[in-house]
Symmetry: C2
Subunit: 364 residues, 2 copies
């Protein structure tokens, strides 16, 4: 078996022990609080890891795009949530094929989109589950709870070949446990029961109330009415998760091993930039940085081009020269995974497997 | 032949007529001013387009990584510049294999890196060209002109199996024609001849003086001593190029066709986000935006997640509903190309070819 030091760089490595601990912890949390766990696979994009999530008790898997769903069939999941409006002829055709293979549910926010899915499903003789997407503060997809949500649900109920299964929301506007976010979390704790009351007054009783995100993962049980969570990042965690307060550095399973390719006058360049990490930014309240260098809190990853990571060494704790290697904690592991053809599973310094990132680049 | 409206979205489309005009214009400019044109293929990542650049008179092609070089061999280029220090055993092995096939030159900034390449090349019985990389203001790779540059060149000259070919620099700190950049350009016009004078005083006469970037492309002939340019983006151009003043919107060959998947209360979501466009930001002096919606200057692409492009419609010039399509001019076409498995060549509304982005994700 090879070791990390033998890998060509940049190499995205996954510490299997940490990943397994993250998976087990979330599975135990969901079970303890009676929450269905339907992990979003956009983070790992690897069917074998989807299978592991199912083995550990996940009720199904979540994807954003129909092409991701096709890839994720190989996980053996019996149930797939497409947490994204399916719009367009090619995507409808793919959705129908998925529905012939597994139980499929789509989250959407527009009766016109529901009608097109209904038409395609009815023609094909399949049934598609629908979650009505509500906006609870992110201002992304989703209708406002109240009349618009009631209308959407009633429209779905009236359409053939659709099965209304409940409501979905995504609290992506709540990033951490800072005061502003806590206010938003408190509003969420009122908004969800109010939304469900309004539905129930009309005789509409959702089987599924799907929320959850990794920053809020461990708060999910404090939002009354939520019975399903869809965290994605929790499998690996990343610098954003650490900054959110939802985990510590020791809970981060994924890092990128890079090589120093240039060291000049108080700066060095590593062989990974926006094509390796994505250009997603993150700040700990100070400067925007593009990642954290393991074991050297003073080395600042302050800028990137496609292939260059700029590390300011003015306050670095050690010296570097070309050929040295560093491990970098990514800001955002989901977008980084999408950039790598394969990643490496490691135990300590030993490389135990290579995984193809099969759903990378599945945009449609 | 299919039409753009038949493509599943998001679809990155290349207007062939505009691309050909861009290629011809740069080739004519280089010829008129006696500049070797060695395009950086990191923008397109497609061997067939590298071949087209060679057909139009390019002296060779540029890549950043050895794995990109392997892919770009299929272009038939007789000459390859790896504009990046080659560090590490796996990359050295790849470099040697490349050098058995074509004339290869590496730009580097450290005598230790040169010594390792020399050792590998000598053992294999191949010769590798070397450009000494100078830093002229970007503070990325490169030694400071003066004693450090002289030392580097002398070290290279003393090493076996290396052929010193000249100097390289990358003026990536000059983004546009604003006052600050014009000052930096003026300094560059002095720094390059001064650097060359210092080399010549030591009897060192570089065959190649390689600079150039797309924002400065049309200024290249005003920097005395430069005899080679390595623009990449010019083949397609992008929103950054427009903002730099180096081209107009009509010179942009690449756009992404997206579908509206949600339209609610003054906002809409399109089916492309950071996995489609990259999260590279750009500002026209006002807000940071993630792209420009063709034909609707008031629709503001102000935020993104992986699969969601957030379009603020408060000042939009038309109405949208799910299923509508928009074409989006990317901020940065190089990082966007890296995210697409294939792109589509179009003439007007007709799709004339699909191109696999063969060097996407080649990080090593």
């Amino acid at each position: 078996m090879s070791r990390i030091q033998d890998l060509d760089t940049p190499a995205l490595v996954i510490d299997v022990e940490t990943m397994e601990r993250n998976l087990a912890r979330a599975a135990a949390y969901a079970q303890r609080h009676g929450l269905r766990l339907r992990p979003h696979t956009k983070t790992h994009k690897i069917p074998a890891l989807g299978r592991r999530q199912i083995e550990l008790g996940a009720a199904g898997l979540t994807v954003a795009k129909t092409t991701e769903g096709e890839v994720m069939l190989a996980s053996g999941t019996p149930d797939l949530l497409i947490a994204y409006p399916v719009v367009g002829a090619a995507k409808l055709a793919r959705l129908i094929e998925l529905a012939r293979r597994v139980q499929v549910t789509v989250a959407l926010d527009d009766a016109r989109v529901a009608a097109l899915i209904s038409g395609a499903a009815a023609r094909a003789g399949v049934e598609i589950g629908i979650l009505a997407e509500a906006d609870l503060g992110l201002l992304r997809v989703g209708v406002t709870p109240g009349p618009a949500l009631l209308d959407l649900v009633k429209n779905v109920l009236a359409l053939p070949a659709l099965r209304w299964r409940g409501v979905a929301f995504y609290p992506g506007h709540i990033k951490d446990h800072a005061a502003e976010s806590l206010g938003a979390l408190e509003r969420l704790r009122h908004a969800v029961p109010a939304m469900l009351d309004a539905l129930k007054k009309e005789g509409l009783d959702p089987e599924i109330v799907s929320g959850g995100s990794t920053p809020l993962l461990w708060d999910s049980h404090t939002i009354a009415g939520v019975n399903e969570i869809r965290p994605g990042t929790y499998i690996f965690n990343d610098r954003n998760t650490v900054l959110s307060g939802a985990c510590g550095r020791a809970d981060c399973a994924a890092t990128v091993v890079c090589t120093v390719v240039s060291a000049q006058d108080g700066r060095m360049m590593i062989d990974g930039g926006s094509k390796t990490f994505s250009s997603d930014r993150a700040s700990d309240g100070g400067d925007v940085l593009y990642g954290a260098i393991d074991g050297d809190a003073g080395a600042r990853f302050h800028k990137m081009n496609e292939e260059h990571g700029y590390i300011d060494l003015a306050r670095a704790e050690r010296n570097y020269r070309p050929g040295d290697r560093v491990r970098v904690l990514m800001n955002h592991v989901c977008t980084a995974m999408n950039l790598h053809e394969q990643v490496w599973a490691v135990r300590g310094e030993e490389v135990v497997a290579s995984w193809k990132v099969e759903a990378r680049g599945k945009l449609q």
